[in-house]
């Protein structure tokens, strides 16, 4: 009886093992695929960013695989939805590194998550190409950590340069209480004196806030000439609406986090006249033909729109850039070894992406310059380049 039971258990184990091993076996006849991990906030508060990143990454990987893969090997993309939670990002990063044995990780979507896994990837020697923008992700430089969105100090400096031209010197800063918002606020505070700007009031608000009239009342009472809002969440549209409802006439500036036409739709008429700095992707059709990025931007825009029936945003563009930079690096390194990939990324120069023209080095793990950014405004519900009053 007992022996029978043990035999049964052993047989069961053997069966389970054989199932497991066949599940893990590579498809017959091809080389092992190159596994690339991705951590995006596909759902949750940063879904406006994470969802286009997820869609873009799948689209790019499909394209790569159709045209023969990387180094003749197919690419397998493993996407984890972190819901923009730093805790989940940490456990997914460990899973991708330890269980999935990926070659590199794309993402995470938000600055908070990226900072949470920066050390993990650095210690594990796992190349990370973050899609978030806080300057602290690549400053100080960690050998294995890169990021593709522009640095937020460039954004702050562009905002201030524009304010100087407009004669604005006293501003109010409001930011979401997230890694992104606080990062941006810190940059604005750091560079204000360089451009002769006084920040009369500087406040953070809950990222999930649904009404900001009370906060804006306080900002208004501080007697500012302009308001800068630094957030990614849909709160950006709420700020725009609430300002108009409060009959505030100050100029509203937003961060590059506003570069999604859906925010404009959500804010409706209240979005008119908002000024913000961002990469050229969203105004690609209005660039001159000689612009080195134009062809690539137009192709990404039209491919994305054809596939997903919605306009592309700069956030999806981050995933596009991260994957293409990684692809270029693996191809030039002719290897998927982490150290060789890192050396190859650092060697990439004048690489046209959606976020600008990248030139990496050992000290610069972002690779973008100030000129990757343009000032954009909203006119009749559309993004147009800002050309002054």
């Amino acid at each position: 009886m007992r022996i029978g039971r043990i035999a049964k258990a052993a047989a069961f184990c053997a069966l389970a093992l054989s199932c497991l091993s066949s599940a893990f076996a590579a498809p017959a006849g091809t080389a092992d695929p190159i596994k690339i991990g991705a951590i995006f906030g596909v759902t949750g508060p940063a879904a406006y960013l994470g969802a286009p990143e997820d869609k873009t990454a799948r689209m790019v990987v499909d394209d790569i695989n159709k045209s023969g893969g990387i180094l003749g090997r197919q690419v397998q993309l493993i996407v984890k939805d972190s819901g923009a939670s730093a805790e989940k990002a940490i456990s997914f990063a460990k899973q991708l590194i330890e269980e999935d044995n990926v070659v590199a990780i794309i993402g995470p979507t938000t600055s908070g998550e990226s900072m949470a896994i920066k050390d993990i990837c650095q210690k594990a020697g796992m190349p990370l190409l973050s899609c978030a923008s806080a300057e602290t992700i690549t400053n100080p430089v960690a050998k294995y950590v890169f990021k593709v969105p522009p640095k937020d100090n460039y954004i702050a400096e562009w905002l201030y340069q524009t304010m100087n031209k407009m004669g604005i010197s006293k501003i109010g800063v409001i930011a979401a209480n997230t890694g992104f918002g606080n990062g941006g606020k810190a940059q604005l505070e750091k560079y204000a004196s360089k451009y002769g700007i006084t920040i009369a009031i500087s406040e953070v608000y809950d990222a999930a806030a649904t009404d900001l009239t009370a906060l804006l009342t306080k900002v208004n009472a501080a007697g500012v000439q302009a308001v800068v809002n630094w957030s990614i969440e849909p709160a950006q549209a709420i700020v725009a609406k609430n300002m108009r409802q409060l009959k505030m006439t100050q100029q509203l500036f937003q961060s590059h986090g506003f570069a999604n036409i859906k925010y404009v739709e959500a804010a409706g008429e209240a979005a008119e006249g908002i000024i913000f700095p961002c990469a050229r992707l969203i105004i690609a059709d209005q660039l001159s033909d000689s612009n080195p990025q134009k062809k690539l931007l137009m192709k990404y825009n039209s491919d994305y729109k054809a596939m997903f029936k919605e306009d592309a945003s700069t956030f999806g563009g981050h995933a596009f850039d991260a994957l293409n930079i990684l692809k270029a690096a693996i191809e030039s390194a002719k290897s998927t070894d982490a150290d060789k990939i890192v050396a190859a990324i650092e060697g990439i120069k004048n690489f046209s992406g959606t976020g600008g023209v990248f030139s990496f080095s050992g000290d610069d793990h972002n690779g973008l310059q100030m000129d990757g950014i343009v000032m954009v405004t909203v006119k009749k519900g559309k993004f147009v380049p800002y050309t002054g009053k």
Binding site: V204, T217, K218, K241, G268
Partner: protein
Amino acid sequence: MQSSLFVQYLVSGLIYGSIYAAVAIGFNIIYNATGIINFAQGEFAMLGGMISSTLAGILPLALAVLAAVALTALVGAALERVFLRKVARGGVLKMVITTIGLSIVIREAALLVWGEGVRTLPFFTGNEVSSVSFLGANFSPQVFWVVGITALVVAGLTAFFRFTLIGKAMRGCSANRDGASLCGIDPGRTVTIAFGLSAAIGAVAGCIVAPLTQTHYAIGTGLAIKGFTVAAFGGLGNSVAAVVAGLFLGMLESFSIIVVPEAYKDVVTICVLLAVLFVKPSGLFGSRAVGALKDY
């Protein structure tokens, strides 16, 4: 403080307070009928906003809102009939946990149906940039709709529980289920109606604030927490207390911004709630004797 500034904060507090009160009333109706806290209450507000914003594309706004409220009421009643009635025998705790599970299911279903995007409902009067001035304060005309409709709902509910047979039956069930059933009231049917009614009120709240606050699949959780805070603060089961508590917390949040960053306004309200519950566990207007009759 300038008087116009004071009025401006007052109006902000009024908006927050009305929303919280409307959600809290939904909690109270179900609490009265069943003795449980329905943690799916916030999802009703989410469904109201999402369904109306979808229907607004094909129907006139008023019809879209009415249809959204009716559909959400059906969802609420169906949840009770299909799920909660099955676990009712297992006790109050089982039902409460079931409502938490249902709230997750509804949220995920909404994500599948509507995606992660934020939606807006057209403003009932004017548009996003319309503004009216009152005593030096400026605000969206939607504020009148929010406050007015919330007031109507409270008045209507009071009349419903006092003067209609179904309302009286629901009060009877909450006071003594067995006694009510001996008098010929069907407790099962009454509870179903309570869920439908509660869902409808949640949906109304979701619709009237959607133009101001926008809506997406995940707004329910935050609303449920605030609504529950307000219901507990006022005293569970008491709808008028919920309105008073809601307005009080709303004002507290809006005026706290003068000294505390917006990001931490919830800390202020939760601290006040804790302080009140330490001193008076049954809430501001709750009675310990009534509370003791409930299972939970």
